[in-house]
């Protein structure tokens, strides 16, 4: 049993996801508890893997060979201190979202709810698989599982969601095909698909053009999937029109897992030597991510719609992570890795809070937030914790990841990245204080507050299974911030080699 935990992480949501349409045919009411149970099973497997891993030497990893075919021949699942963190983030986010999602799904989807849970769990399977696998081609298949299910989830949304989904499908397939092509180039040169073996073989081929092309294609494919700025056009519409529960799950996870894959390939397949010494493209990419951060923030500022605003904040946050990794300084890379986890929870907190607001208020326009603090105090306080974390106010975790990113940029001399980070923090502060203003005083900046209509607003909080996960997430944001040092020394320090 103990050596099967790695594969159980993926199998729990996979099988329950496939069974749900059959079970729902007989009894619709057990679907939600069943989905939660499967995720708890997966959480238990992740937890046990983590306890096994923490007993071992910091740089070691646990492997699982599917079908008992040894590593270079068969598919290998690997867990080390890098992806155990990402796995924890994925499973916590998906568990909390599932608990949160019950009423929202019933309200928005009605009869489709059962099929929705099926896609939901298959999406989580894809993400967990991407994170845990040690095989470059297996990663492609799981990436497509996650993408295909996410197309299905977004297409269930309202209004223009169908067209947005189609654009996402074209862009996403293009990204996945680029990734596949890149893996093909690596396979021609090395004859292997196993990431560990690629890491061993590739140093002999550093001056090969084919390896360079493979690297460029893989990174480009991941940029499309993570919505890095010039390639971001699919994200805002897709995520803002998706059903609330789907947006809560996808917005925090899909982009961050793509960032994880990029960092995985940079550190553990191509090695830091290739990425930062053989190639000399760091500066260009850091400039691109600075532009991404500023552009994302400015777009966010111009939105009148809460969800749309948050999606552009995601675009800016992707810029943080890509820029942080490509600064080429240890602190920047550590900051980016820490930010994967931190940003997953921040985005979840914000999207859940907006989900609660939409559930009660009916839409997510900024002007309909008047007097919202009195009506939904718990939701709004959690929303503000998430907002403070995005701005970077201590002790939330957003502050510490930004601290590391700035330190990395400072040490590598990328002053423009520091400027972009500071501008983005200021714009985020404007965004969230604007919401505080509307929510507390009930006025857009140019009209006078109307106290009479404010007094008529009654306390009307969402049901407990919606606000409790939200409170937990905002607690996690603060706890992650307080224990930053422990996370850094126990997990992230060992991932990033000294340069």
């Amino acid at each position: 049993m103990a050596d099967q935990f790695l594969v159980l992480i993926v199998l729990f949501p996979l099988f329950v996801g496939l069974l749900i349409p059959i079970i729902a045919y007989f009894n619709k009411s057990v679907v939600w508890p069943l989905a939660i149970l499967s995720l708890i099973g997966s959480f238990w497997a992740v937890f046990n893997t983590a306890t096994q891993l923490l007993k071992l030497d910091p740089s070691s990893s646990i492997s699982y060979y599917l079908g008992n075919w040894m590593a270079p021949f068969g598919i290998e699942y690997v867990v080390d201190r890098f992806n155990i963190m990402v796995l924890f983030a994925i499973i916590c986010v998906s568990l909390l979202t599932t608990i949160f999602a019950k009423q929202v799904i019933e309200k928005e989807l009605g009869d489709n709810a059962a099929n929705f849970y099926s896609l939901f769990l298959l999406f989580i399977t894809g993400l967990l698989g991407i994170t845990i696998t040690g095989d470059a081609f297996n990663l492609y298949v799981l990436l497509e599982i996650a993408s295909l299910t996410s197309y299905g989830l977004i297409a269930l949304g309202r209004g223009r969601a169908l067209v947005a989904t189609f654009n996402y499908l074209i862009m996403g397939s293009m990204g996945a095909c680029f990734y596949l092509l890149g893996v093909g180039y690596l396979f021609i040169k090395t004859g292997t698909l196993n990431m560990d073996q690629l890491y061993d073989v590739l140093p002999l081929l550093f001056d090969s053009k084919a390896v360079l092309v493979g690297f460029v294609f893989i990174i480009l494919g991941m940029w499309v999937k993570m919505a890095f700025f010039p390639l971001h056009s699919w994200l805002p519409n897709a995520y803002s029109l998706a059903p609330t529960a789907a947006a809560c799950l996808m917005a925090p996870l899909m982009t961050k897992v793509s960032v994880y894959v990029m960092i995985r390939f940079m550190l553990n397949v191509f090695s830091t030597e290739y990425v930062y010494s053989v190639l000399t493209i760091n500066n260009i990419i850091v400039i691109m991510s600075s532009i991404a951060i500023i552009a994302g923030s400015i777009y966010a500022l111009s939105q009148k719609n809460l969800k749309k605003m948050l999606t552009f904040i995601i675009v800016a946050e992707i810029g943080y992570m890509v820029g942080g990794v490509w600064t080429g300084h240890v602190d920047g890379i550590r900051g980016a890795i820490y930010h994967i986890t931190a940003d997953a929870f921040m985005t979840l907190c914000l999207f859940m809070a907006v989900g609660c607001i939409v559930y009660r208020v009916g839409n997510d326009k900024l002007e309909s937030l008047k007097g919202i603090f009195k009506k939904m105090p718990i939701t709004m306080i959690c929303f503000l914790v998430g907002g403070f974390s995005v701005i970077g106010i201590p002790p939330t975790c957003g502050f510490f990841s930004k601290w590391y990113l700035i330190s990395g940029a400072f040490n590598s001399g990328a002053w423009y990245f520091i400027i972009a980070l500071i501008i983005s923090s200021l714009i985020n502060a404007v965004l969230f204080f604007r919401i505080i203003e509307i929510g507390f005083f009930g006025a857009m900046s140019n009209e006078k507050p109307d106290y009479k209509s404010l007094q008529s607003i009654k306390f009307n909080e969402v049901p407990i299974n919606m606000w409790l996960p939200l409170v937990i997430v905002s607690m996690i944001l603060i706890i992650l911030g307080i224990y930053t040092n422990e996370i850094m020394t126990n997990f992230i320090l060992n991932i990033v080699p000294m340069m």
């Binding site: 081609f137 492609y140 298949v141 497509e144 295909l148 197309y151 299905g152 297409a155 223009r160 169908l162 067209v163 989904t165 189609f166 499908l169 074209i170 397939s173 293009m174 095909c177 596949l180 092509l181 093909g184 396979f187 021609i188 698909l193």
Partner: protein, 121 residues
Amino acid sequence: MFEYLITNYNYMVVVFLMMMGLWAMIAKKNLVKKCIGLVIFQTGIILFYISMGAKNNSTIPIIDPKYGEAAINYANPLTQILMLTAIVVGVATLGVGLMLVQRIYKEYGSINEDRILEKFK
């Protein structure tokens, strides 16, 4: 240079197919044509993988007493197996894409991108 192109004509075909597919995905206004472009693009990649596993004077990768057990006599089976998976993924993507086109047509009465965008106004 010309000889190089002739001897590696399979890769030229692959690049041509991929560019054609990519162009259709980006430039065509008709949503079904975009789907077709996607399939052509994926077919290009599939041919790329298959042609990297092929060898001169080799046969399908099933051990045959006539050819002996030397690996040189057989095409690389790994790329073919990978592409079986990629074909399945491609079919699934195309299925989802066509389903979306069908629902878009039902909702907006057109599969032309410009006309759909006009309806949003």
